[in-house]
């Protein structure tokens, strides 16, 4: 027995602890090689969400979302109005008559309003999507759960659905041309919707 002075034995780490630390190091290395480059792409995407294009114009997400939405609204209303007019003419309606012009004017106003609305909504949704991306990357850095956000195609589908409902209401409300030409106007719009590639 020894009751004298001297250093106490240093505690030894277990081999298991070292093995776990080595496994953790291996895994984190692998994470760095596999996932970090992918994460960096997502981070870059999030951080440039609101950047302008090189020529100073809106970035491509805004351009495509707004352009597509407005274009679809233009197409849906334009074809609907054209079909309605063609059927009205077929029934002998004078295209220069005040009644016809007033109704056409009302439908054109509805078309302009719908195009403006879907363009506005599409732009706002892209901005919201940009913030969702930033939130997700922030959560990723903290090891928190990330959320799925609407893709551009989902945004477009939402806009398309809202647009069709609005167009349904506008054409249903467009009573005078339909009354003059029987129910041809409504039928024409319905036919147009059925053959539309976007329906």
């Amino acid at each position: 027995m020894c009751f004298g002075g001297g250093d106490a034995d240093k505690p030894e780490e277990s081999r298991a602890k070292l093995a776990m630390a080595e496994a953790a190091a291996y895994n984190i290395r692998r994470y760095g090689e596999l996932y970090v480059p992918v994460e960096n792409m997502a981070i870059n995407d999030a951080m440039t969400s609101f950047d302008l294009a090189a020529d100073g114009s809106q970035n491509v997400d805004y351009q495509s979302a707004i352009g597509d939405s407005v274009g679809r609204a233009n197409q849906v209303y334009g074809e609907g109005i054209a079909d309605t007019q063609a059927l009205a003419f077929g029934r002998g309606l004078d295209p220069t008559s005040g009644a016809f012009m007033a109704e056409s004017d009302a439908l054109r106003s509805a078309q302009a309003k719908a195009m403006g609305e879907v363009g506005t909504n599409a732009g706002n949704q892209v901005t919201t999507g940009g913030f969702q991306k930033l939130e997700n990357m922030s959560a990723l850095g903290r090891g928190l759960e990330t959320k799925a956000y609407d893709s551009m195609s989902t945004v477009a589908q939402n806009e398309q659905s809202a647009l069709e409902q609005q167009a349904d209401r506008d054409f249903a409300n467009s009573s005078s041309v339909a009354n003059i030409a029987g129910t041809a106007g409504g039928i024409a719009y319905g036919l147009n919707r059925n053959k539309s590639a976007y329906s």
Binding site: K10, P11, E12, E13, S14, R15, K17, L18, M20, A21, E22, A23, A24, A25, Y26, I28, R29, Y31, G32, E33, V36, P37, E39, N40, I43, M47, F50, Q58, Y62, I66, V70, N74, G78, T96, D105, R108, S109, Q111, A112, K113, M115, G116, E117, G119, T120, N121, G123, N124, T127, T128, F131, L134, E135, M137, S138, A139, G141, R142, G143, L144
Partner: protein, 168 residues
């Protein structure tokens, strides 16, 4: 009193750039310098596992600071008293969408009228009011969306981050 050299060393650790250089940080592979088996042959008395785990922790912190702190800064920096910093750009886009659409449709209508020998539509008060009404509606909707966005950032993503930070 603390050793000045040690204090200097600590201040180096607190500096993102210098710390990055210290660990030879590579944003495309921030853990590439970690060797899982660096301490495998070290005596258990020298705590090799602790040393390795400390390296991992430092590397993770540095990685977080280099890649994710700028994202958090951008997110928090976008919050304003009434919404987000993107409101100006969104309002511009709204104006452009509404006014551009009105002009586009007026052009279509005029081309239709011209086919029947009618003069182009003049801008009437009614049409102007319709465009103004659509514009006001669009601008108000855009402001409302922006305010909701701000609330969502604060109560959603940031609150989760804050909660997680408090739990550390």
């Amino acid at each position: 009193m603390a050793n000045p050299e040690f204090l200097n060393f600590l201040s180096g650790l607190n500096d993102g750039g210098r710390m990055g250089q210290f660990y030879d940080y590579d944003p495309n592979n921030p853990y590439g310098n970690i060797n899982p088996y660096r301490y495998s042959n070290m005596s258990p008395e020298d705590n090799p596992a602790d040393k390795l785990l400390a390296e991992l922790t430092r590397a993770q912190l540095e990685d977080y600071r280099q890649r994710f702190e700028p994202v958090e800064n951008a997110l928090v920096g976008s919050i304003t008293a009434t919404g987000t910093t993107q409101i100006g750009a969104d309002l511009d886009r709204t104006r452009s969408a509404v006014i551009g659409s009105a002009e586009n449709v007026r052009g279509q209508s005029n081309r239709f009228r011209e086919r029947y020998g009618l003069s182009a539509m003049q801008q009437t008060t009614e049409r102007s009011n319709a465009t103004t009404g659509a514009l006001v509606g669009g601008l108000n909707a855009t402001r409302a969306v922006d305010a909701e966005r701000r609330d969502a950032i604060i109560s959603g993503g940031l609150s989760a981050v804050g909660q997680q930070t408090r739990n550390i």
